[in-house]
């Protein structure tokens, strides 16, 4: 592995775990030694891992997740000198329009979503298409924690510790054919549990669709996530399986995926279909290209208090330029926003 000197980008796989993180772990270990009821808790392993981060609501993880979590590579990618967003904010301030357009709607409405059993279809230009139960789909993959910045196109941002695996590992499994140029993802469509899909006034043509160029998907930073904050994904964050592409605006990171297709044509993505002049296929975080309705030069890092607003400059490719800029050499990013 190359050892790089951190410059424009803060995040490196070789980064040492930051002290605060390390200390909170110490704190946890100390608490355990002090016999603070940890042994008495049911599902203690899950509860123990969740306690890596403070105030994390313990979930009800499926057994495949708990088993995989035991060998999870913690802090495989980290951020430097940036605070991780509190769990409560990351789980109660969401855009997941299937469950409503207000930020609190997903947390309020997504509880009814059943993520077990869950089926993922892999089709299109692949050598090994199939229909998998999620636990079988997940079998080949080693989980790792990726602490990434998340920049929403609405000019707010967070820092979230995801748990997942690189899409490149998935592509190795499904064996794309030579015709495959893009990867297309589709969210669950189930109007019975998703009130947003029942709305007669929705501008979105469900199901939600997103996609990446194949070389983008192969970039080591692009992952499929199944967990966050040391636990499985809460429903409102896209359980049980979602995309995380940290150098692109958040809407690219599609949630609750049921179908993954390799295709030869650029997929028609949801936001591009609604308003192509506002949301492009690439949607790379770019402070120099405004959204037609607001500037993208700055962002509100949440939580941003009323009396201590946390406004900062947005970085090119959300600070991941070192890793991803080469994907776009020769591409006019003003036109291909």
């Amino acid at each position: 592995m190359l050892i790089k000197i951190p410059k424009a980008s803060d995040c490196h796989e070789s980064d040492v775990t930051p002290e605060s993180f390390y200390l909170s772990r110490r704190h946890l270990l100390g608490a355990t030694v002090a016999g603070l009821a940890v042994g008495g808790l049911p599902r203690w392993a899950t509860a123990g891992e969740a306690a890596r981060y403070s105030d994390v609501e313990p979930g009800d993880a499926p057994s495949w997740f708990s088993e995989k979590l035991a060998s999870n590579k913690w802090g495989a990618v980290n951020v430097k000198d940036e605070a991780i967003t509190p769990f409560k904010d990351a789980t109660h301030y969401n855009n997941f329009y299937e469950f409503g357009t207000e930020k609190g709607d997903p947390a309020a409405n997504a509880g009814v979503l059943k993520t077990e059993p869950w089926t993922v279809v892999v089709d299109g230009e692949v050598g090994r298409p199939g229909r998998y139960a999620l636990e079988d789909f997940m079998k080949p993959y080693q989980l790792e924690e990726r602490i990434y910045r998340l920049r929403c196109v609405e000019a707010w941002s967070m820092v979230i510790p995801w748990i997942g695996f690189p899409i490149s590992a998935l592509l190795n499994q499904v064996e794309p054919t030579s015709k495959a140029k893009y990867i297309r993802f589709e969210t669950l469509q189930d109007p019975k549990v998703m009130p947003g899909q029942r709305s007669g006034f929705a501008l979105i043509d469900w199901p939600y669709v997103e996609g990446l160029r194949l070389d983008e998907a192969m970039n080591p930073l692009a992952i499929m996530a199944v967990g966050m904050y040391g636990r499985e994904l809460p429903n409102q964050n896209g359980a049980p399986l979602r995309l995380v592409v940290p150098w692109k605006y958040g809407f690219k990171s599609i949630k609750s995926i049921v179908r993954i297709s390799l295709v030869s044509e650029q997929p028609k993505t949801t936001w591009q279909s609604i308003a192509a002049n506002e949301y492009g296929f690439y949607a790379n975080v770019n402070p120099t290209v405004d959204h037609p309705r607001w500037t993208q030069a700055r962002e509100r890092r949440l939580p941003s208090g009323l009396f201590k607003p946390n406004v900062r400059d947005t970085q090119m490719f959300n600070g991941y330029a070192d890793e991803v800029a080469s994907l776009y050499t020769g591409l006019d990013l003003r036109k291909n926003y």
Binding site: T101, F201, L203, W294, R300, L306, P309
Partner: protein, 207 residues
């Protein structure tokens, strides 16, 4: 002054919301992005107050009670107060008092331009809402204050351009606004029945 209790009641009912929201923001009850929430609520509050103000005349026609008209100006001024707060919150929490950015927004963003136009109209209406202006402007005062219909249109357009994915909420406000405007068409206004005063009227009419 007639209806003092009613007037004070309306005053308190309009005052309580911004205070409650400020308290919620202070108590961390508005989530991780309280500034944005405040901007949105104040904007929506402006629209709601505009619709309430516009429903005073039809309500008076419907019920014959003069109390509706007695609070109309106050409600209009509350609408103006909310839009001022909405603007201040936008300047502080969204722009972070970045004045050069404000210049950019004013030039480039249609929804900001429309919003500012609406604000300027409301400013004119607020400045001429006193008795002195009424007397000075005479007949022209009434014409000038028909600007409020334009403000409603601008406000709804401003909101429409902010909607990202679901038009339901906007459609409700737009429908109410359209209804209130239709009530002002002379043929419709003539047909608004007087629920309360009707009985007193009818016998006279027969003669």
């Amino acid at each position: 002054m007639r209806y003092p209790l009613w007037r004070v009641g309306v005053f308190l009912a309009a005052l309580v919301w911004p205070l409650l929201w400020l308290y919620q923001a202070w108590a961390d009850a508005l989530g991780p992005d309280p500034g944005k929430v405040l901007v949105d609520r104040l904007g929506l509050g402006t629209l709601v107050l505009l619709l309430i103000t516009l429903s005073m005349t039809p309500l008076q026609k419907l019920t014959g009670w003069a109390g509706w008209i007695a609070v109309r100006r106050q409600l209009g001024l509350w609408c103006f107060a909310y839009v001022i707060l909405h603007l201040c919150a936008y300047l502080a929490f969204i722009l972070g008092f970045d004045w050069s950015q404000l210049g950019v927004e004013l030039r480039k963003r249609p929804y900001i331009i429309v919003g500012v136009l609406g604000f300027v109209c409301l400013l004119v209406l607020a400045l001429t809402s006193n008795r002195y202006s009424q007397r000075r402007l005479g007949v022209r005062w009434k014409k000038l204050h028909r600007l409020v219909y334009l403000v409603l249109g601008l406000g709804l357009l401003h909101m429409l351009w902010i909607v990202r994915a679901d038009l339901k909420e906007w459609s409700i406000y737009a429908a109410i606004g359209a209804f209130l405007l239709v009530l002002r068409l002379p043929p419709v206004t003539r047909r608004i029945p007087r629920l309360m005063a009707k009985k007193a009227f009818l016998p006279e009419k027969r003669n």
